[in-house]
């Protein structure tokens, strides 16, 4: 089931925040724009998977295509429709530009990541969004060894996307988990080209701090 109730207040609080922002902390001039051809990691607050929604309007308005692998099971088609209407567009205008697949287990998320090149042949996306990586691999129902192996395969899958003309954004809430598998997140950090830490203040404001910035070879 998809619930939309949570997203309603988000729309109201998020938009002004982006404009107002925390100028001091925020070193990225365009926090809602994803760098091209790079792996960007967003982490820091429990709302990360939902925050991923707010990158969509800019991308979709530019008629870029998005492949969204939702390990957090947080995607809201209704919110996407609202974004379209908010810009005076029919929801179908956005709907045709985005494809979503949800993963309920870490093994499924790995499989989705590994299938990206095949999916791109059918649907040539410009942006890949992945949520709950590595959060989904912290599942205690999954033993350490298979979780680890599966995670490594997912990372490898992401590495294999590097030569492709696609920008990848991973939204993770890993830091709020109590787990012995902390090294998963470290590995993901090492692999990321850009890391942005998102924190929410007591008044609901967001601050974004750039923690890692790898210049691209092509740049």
């Amino acid at each position: 089931m998809i619930t939309t109730s949570f997203h309603e207040p988000m729309v109201a609080t998020m938009n002004p925040l982006v404009a107002a922002g925390d100028a001091e902390k925020r070193s990225s001039p365009k926090p809602w724009v994803l760098p091209d051809r790079a792996l960007t990691l967003f982490y820091g607050c429990p709302e990360m998977p939902r925050l991923s929604h707010y990158f969509l309007p800019r991308i979709l308005v530019d008629e870029k295509r998005v492949l969204y692998l939702d390990g957090a099971n947080q995607i809201s088609p209704l919110l996407i429709a609202r974004f379209a209407r908010g810009r005076g567009l029919e929801p179908s205008a956005f709907n045709s530009l985005i494809r979503i697949a949800r993963a309920f287990t870490c093994f499924q998320l790995t499989e989705l990541v590994r299938r990206v090149p095949k999916e791109l042949a059918e649907f040539s996306a410009d942006v890949l969004i992945v949520t709950a990586l590595p959060d989904l691999y912290f599942d205690e129902d999954v033993q350490d060894r298979p979780a680890r192996a599966s995670f490594e395969h997912a990372l490898e899958g992401l590495r294999e996307l590097a030569p492709l003309p696609i920008s990848v954004a991973v939204f993770s809430d890993a830091t709020s988990f109590k787990t012995k598998r902390h090294d998963f997140f470290k590995k993901l950090r090492n692999q990321a080209d850009h890391i942005l830490k998102v924190e929410s203040g007591p008044d609901g404001s967001l601050s974004i701090t750039r923690e890692k910035d790898t210049p691209l070879l092509s740049a």
Binding site: M1, I2, L67, I75, P77, L78, I80, A81, P91, S92, F94, N95, S96, I98, R99, I100, A101, R102, A103, F104, T105, F107, Q108, L109, T110, E111, L112, R115, E119, F123, E140, D141, V142, R145, P146, R148, A149, S150, E152, H153
Partner: protein, 743 residues
């Protein structure tokens, strides 16, 4: 493998059999060759060969390395060894329960009647099944059953501090062991040795009785003969909290035996619901070891039935559920993700309503339309007919594994139903329990198609079944309305219809018509004299499904969503509702209902009176709630949190998902700790909150008067308990003291 057999004279035999279970490995050929070499060099315990098996999703052969393990107890260990060596290889069939694999290979099942030939050392030479797991009426082994429990109230978790004498019962003889005599473990050991039961049926044996007895035996340095098989040690697993469908649940610890069966009624959903007859049936058809079968979810049963078919077909059984969702556009996702269809009920009293139910709707859809995870959007049938709304294709070339499993279950249930109708009471009850246990398998079948840990799960199958169900309900509604019926309510697989002056024959004709058009079995669940649909508890004018009561032609009640149906309700409230409902069930129409409600009010008044006079057994006031966090993690002082913290404070280890029982003592007290008392810590001098319980009684009565004109309900809402009365009566009812049981 060790096999325990019982003959018709109740003699038992311990036999052994050689068995080399196999798993399969796929991956790059080079890597497989390396693995094969490593396996050959490792030791002599493995046999390997290249062979072909079928990939479930592609329905195509795949070359795999078969690894047979000569020592079955090391089976899973060798799977781990492969992974450790090379994490890129994929394993199949590697984490299956060896006991079930043995059953599949030898074509036997737990509790089957078999013919065995063995040598002088008890080694099996041949084993032949002389039984059929799909038989309806079968001979059961003559099991000797010993029951053990603690004296007193069984629903209170003894780990919360309750101590009582140990009661043991066998063949109608009872023994009671307490601290007054010799240590209970000694007496218990002697009884087990003398009586030599095949089954120990306990209440709280898993978490409390057996662990305590074992500890005592250990302290006194003697061996407790729990196992018949002295070469094996008793297995004890730890309890743990887990989340399922958004709810935090607790899986209790388990104590399982070798050569003897231990079933804990308090830790076995299926034996609680369906008694031994249901448990035996489940073990026979799922081929899961009995002790495991008793403690696991029915989803695991379904999963093993699917895997058995896969194994027979030579289909590879993946280790993990890795088959993800196919990417979809947001609007497609929104459409696919819809659940069952609901038409909200018409609030209030309606006389002469028929409930028509699609029989086992989801399983029937799976069986009828061949919907199974691997048949949805198969790669082999691009032109197959499509599922309404979603456009998914269903394979036309192969029968789905899930469809085959549910089909057999549906057929067997149907045959048992026929048998139940024509059998004497004893046998009829047994057939009913067998049917019920299969109902639980079928119920979870659908959920399992989408369940995250289902081996053969695929979300699209789940969505397809839902879509067909929605379409079916719409068609049924249309047919009913065309025939002049009014739809009072519909929910997923059932319809409540009404027509002025309609007879049972009219309803039957309608059911027949719907059945023909939808090609799914539909039955009249009941023709009700009346139904009262109730609004939501929060909003008096908002109808909600599943909150109603109804009275059948024969006076039988159907109640949903009332306090008396909930596990956490205090017994006092439950009883009041049951008594009031029994009176209301005598009504035939609105007029007689309006008369009967006066008699029902007397019931409420009587309960109020007993409450205010302190004439209530404290055990009737126990509220049970599941905790969702560790006691220390609660931020707010809600009643459940307070009770949990009281238990925690007295040294009880509580885990999320476990239940706490408490009595409300003074709900308005400024001191949180005075508001409730955990029942395990109850002492006679505590008083219960009479005002609060009186209010709860009134609230529990409210559903019965909601359908009446306002005037009738007014006097009921006045508080019948005055301050004067509160002063006059004693504060508590003495609690019958329980015998101590301290090990």
């Amino acid at each position: 493998m060790t096999l325990w057999l019982i003959d018709r004279n109740q003699s038992h035999y311990r036999l052994t059999d050689s068995f080399a279970p196999a798993f399969y490995v796929s991956g790059d050929h080079e890597r497989l060759v390396q693995l094969r070499e490593a396996a050959q060099h490792q030791c002599t315990e493995l046999r390997t060969r290249f062979t072909e098996r079928t990939d479930l999703w592609l329905n195509a052969p795949r070359t795999v390395l078969e690894v047979s393990v000569l020592c079955p107890t090391d089976f899973m260990g060798w799977g781990r060894w492969v992974h450790k060596r090379d994490s890129r290889l994929q394993l199949y069939n590697s984490d299956l329960m060896v006991a079930s694999l043995y059953c599949w290979e030898k074509r036997i099942f737990p509790l089957a009647y078999v013919e065995v030939e063995s040598d002088d050392e008890g080694k099996i030479q041949s084993i032949e099944c002389r039984d059929d797991e799909w038989a309806l009426n079968y001979e059961m082994p003559p099991l000797k059953i010993m029951q053990i429990r603690l004296a007193g109230l069984s629903r209170i978790d003894p780990t919360h501090g309750r101590r009582a004498a140990l009661e043991i019962e066998m063949d109608g003889t009872c023994w009671e062991l307490d601290e007054a005599g010799e240590p209970p473990a000694l007496g218990f050991a002697r009884l087990v040795k003398r009586q030599d039961p095949d089954v120990i049926l306990s209440e709280w044996g898993d978490s409390t009785i057996l662990p305590l007895l074992r500890q005592q035996a250990e302290r006194l340095k003697f061996s407790l003969p729990l196992n018949r098989d002295e070469s094996a040690s008793v297995q004890q697993s730890k309890g743990r909290s887990y989340t399922s469908y958004g709810r935090i649940l607790f899986k209790a610890s388990a104590t399982t035996l070798f050569g003897r069966i231990h079933v804990d009624k308090q830790n076995s959903f299926i034996s609680e619901k369906c008694d031994f007859a249901g448990l035996w049936e489940l073990a026979r058809i799922t081929k899961l070891p009995i002790q495991y079968s008793a403690r696991t979810t029915t989803g695991t049963g379904i999963s093993y039935m699917q895997m058995e078919l896969a194994h027979r077909d030579g289909v590879l059984i993946p280790e993990q559920k890795a088959e993800p969702e196919d990417p979809k556009h947001p609007d497609e996702l929104l459409c696919a993700d819809r659940g069952g269809l609901v038409f909200v009920p018409k609030l209030g009293f309606t006389a002469n309503v028929a409930e028509l139910d699609f029989v086992s709707q989801f399983p029937s859809i799976m069986a009828r339309f061949n919907i199974s995870p691997e048949t949805v959007n198969c790669p082999c049938c691009p032109d197959a007919p499509r599922i309404p709304e979603l456009g998914y294709r269903i394979c036309e070339k192969r029968r789905g594994i899930t469809s085959r499993v549910v089909e057999r279950l549906i057929v067997k249930r149907g045959e048992l139903k026929k048998l139940q109708k024509t059998s004497p009471p004893d046998a009829a009850l047994r057939f009913k329990l067998q049917r019920d246990s299969m109902k639980w398998l079928l119920v979870c079948c659908f959920g399992y198609t989408g369940y995250k840990n289902a081996r053969f799960g695929k979300i699209e199958a789940h969505e397809a079944i839902n879509a067909v169900a929605r379409e079916t309900l719409l068609v049924a509604k249309e047919i009913a309305e065309n025939d002049g019926f009014q739809l009072i309510h519909a929910l997923v697989d059932s319809l409540y219809v009404w027509k002025e002056g309609a007879t049972r024959e009219d309803f039957e004709r309608l059911a027949g018509e719907i059945e023909t058009k939808t090609r799914l079995p539909l039955a009249i669940e009941s023709v009700y004299r009346y139904v009262v649909f109730l609004p939501s508890k929060q909003y008096a004018d908002v109808p909600v499904p599943n909150r109603f009561f109804a009275v059948g032609e024969d006076g039988e009640l159907k109640v949903r969503g009332l306090e008396c149906r909930r596990h956490d309700t205090a017994p006092l409230l439950k009883r009041m509702q049951h008594e009031a409902l029994a009176i209301l069930a005598e009504a035939h129409d609105f007029e007689s209902y309006s008369h009967k409600i006066e008699a029902a009010r007397m019931v409420l008044a009587d309960y109020q009176e007993r409450l205010s006079s302190g004439d209530v057994d404290i055990r009737d006031l126990i509220v049970s709630k599941r905790i969702t966090k560790e006691p220390r993690d609660y931020q707010k002082a809600g009643v459940t949190a307070i009770a949990a913290q009281q238990l925690f404070g007295s040294g009880v280890k509580l885990r999320p998902g476990q239940t706490v029982e408490y009595v409300i003592t003074d709900s308005d007290s400024p001191v949180p700790n005075d508001r409730v008392r955990a029942f395990a810590l109850w002492e006679g001098w505590f008083g219960y909150d009479r005002k609060k319980y009186a209010a709860m009684l009134r609230e529990a009565f409210e559903p019965f008067i909601l359908c009446l004109p306002k005037t009738a309900e007014e006097h009921l809402l006045t508080d019948s308990l005055t301050e004067e009365e509160l002063k006059r009566f004693p504060l508590f009812a003495p609690l019958a003291l329980l015998r101590p049981f301290k090990v």
